[in-house]
Symmetry: C2
């Protein structure tokens, strides 16, 4: 049985859910965007393209940030835009080298907000050691935007012989997760809805290229890396399972979620598996290298809580299943709708 | 005398004019954006960064397109986004290699519009021989965007020894223009305002990398190339004059403007020197190479109407002057306000 979400025709209007990172996004991508552009690099559906220029393997990626609110616990749209694009490069095994930053400003935006966001963007880029070398600024009329949107694109360098891609997972590989799930999404939602918790929940927004370097120094038997952003862990693993033609079996007890995030999710009717993260990675690693990989992740401040959360399986290609805390097995499907719009 | 527009404090809110490409844009850039990011590549203020990766000189650029309407005579936001970014690379002397495309869709956008724009973007990229290799799609709520915005970033390769930059103009250099002024801006404005002309005016939107290749094959004594987009020829030449510390003297009679564009400009109270172009370039070339350069430009379909329009001067650094058709001399300043918002 090849399991794959049934594609639904995209309809004649763009819906908010088409930006969710889940099933509706996949439908839009497969039915409208990819058919227009069809080429080998795009069709790989990874978060970055790897292209060759005179023998050098360059990674190239782009990401637009429309997060609301602009400032949230643990970060803002500026730092998020740096971390997100660095992470897309790092997930391809690339060392990030250069960033661009392009702003769409809405007429009337307080200059103070722009100053804060640009300072934060620059601060995050400097901390990560990846300079912003080119940029652009456009202004639209009041009511034609929403304060500030920012696009960052990035260039990185991939070492010879390294191939990380969502079609590389193999049966018996280990599924590793670098830390707790759901912190970014819940931090944004709490801020947006004015929810208050005893322990404030902060976004996990962070640049993961250092963590990836540590991992790849410990083992080259890494098949695939993904940062589970829009659509969460569930959508990322479903994409890998479908692209690699493998199944996955997860162990719910092994998946770390902070108590306060768990509580907020229960209160809001959300499943942490579908909530966005901005400083976590999932690594598919050959079985024999799993211990070394886990040790390397835990050696890094951003991977202290890394866990092995499951195994790649031969049966049920395209299907992600999970043994729950009560011992039952459930299917973990892609995010179907628009759980949390404008989360990044 | 060093002539430079007097900087005015940017104020506490973003204005529509901050996106004009003229003086207000320069103020925003100098007072808010550049101080945040200050680094050598950005400070060159060219339309692209040239960075080195293991001995290769890569050009990297980003541009967001917010043009209104999305479809206009001679093109649409998709083809424009390809041409604009290819031209930013070509103005640095780079051979364009790869593009990214990132969309912000407003909820409710007709799917037909998205299909049309992506097809047009892909068509323009294919025609130019520069593939779109990576992308991103976000959706914002109805009222938080304006149909569709698109960012394209691009990577190009700069040959060894080539240095084109706005600080390279020298006294006695020739100022060459590849064709007529104002077609893009007037086409957009006519469409937006529902103006009708006997001869419909079409945007000149085109990819200029082939024209640049022809020019550089004929002479390497090119100092600087610019495509006069937002802010028009006047703003582009003012930036070069200021950055190179030189003056310029233009000859109004030599500057080609279509009769219908001239007429529309008179009717609308616009000066073609400040109207945006999307398929023209201005080249600053050593005096001795001017004839060869002009011949090379005219040899290419996109440079048939190329003219020498002026000379770089030693006196009045930073000042662009023009001998008018009636023999007087006027100062050609930077665009001061927001002549035409959302022109690209």
């Amino acid at each position: 049985m090849f399991h794959c979400p049934v594609p639904v025709p995209v309809g004649d209007r763009v819906l908010l859910g088409h930006g969710s990172g889940g099933k509706l996004s996949a439908d839009l991508l497969r039915q409208v965007i990819l058919p227009a552009f069809a080429n080998p690099a795009l069709d790989r559906l990874d978060d970055q393209a790897v292209v060759e220029v005179r023998g050098l393997r360059l990674a190239f990626t782009t990401d637009t940030f429309v997060v609301k609110p602009l400032v949230f616990p643990g970060g803002d749209i500026g730092s998020l835009a740096v971390h997100g694009t660095i992470n897309d490069l790092a997930m391809g095994g690339a060392r990030p080298l250069f960033l661009s930053a392009a702003f769409i400003l809405e007429e009337g935006l307080p200059m103070e907000t722009l100053r804060r966001v640009t300072a934060s963007l620059q601060g995050a880029a400097a901390a990560a050691g990846v300079p912003v070398v080119t940029g652009d600024t456009k202004v639209v009329e009041k009511g034609s935007g929403d304060g500030l949107f920012v696009n960052t694109s990035g260039i990185g360098l991939v070492e010879d012989g390294l191939l990380l891609s969502s079609d590389q997972a193999r049966p018996r590989d280990a599924v590793l997760l670098s830390g707790t799930l759901g912190d970014h999404g819940i931090a944004i939602l709490a801020q947006r809805e004015g929810l208050e918790f005893e322990c404030p929940i902060e976004s996990d927004s962070a640049a993961l290229h250092g963590l990836v370097a540590r991992l790849l120094a410990a083992t080259r038997e890494v098949r695939c890396l993904r940062d589970p952003t829009r659509g969460g862990l569930a959508s990322a693993l479903n994409e890998i399972a479908a692209r690699s033609g493998v199944g996955m079996l997860l162990d719910e007890r092994a998946i770390p979620v902070r108590e306060e995030v768990k509580g907020a999710c229960e209160m809001l009717g959300l499943d942490p598996l579908y909530v966005a993260n901005e400083g976590k990675l999932v690594a598919i690693v050959a079985a024999g290298a799993a211990e070394a990989a886990l040790g390397a992740l835990r050696d890094h401040p951003l991977g202290r809580e890394a866990r092995r959360i499951g195994t790649v399986t031969e049966g049920h290609p395209g299907l992600v299943a999970m043994r729950t805390v009560i011992g039952a097995t459930r299917v973990v499907d892609m995010l179907a709708g628009d759980q949390l719009p404008r989360i990044c």
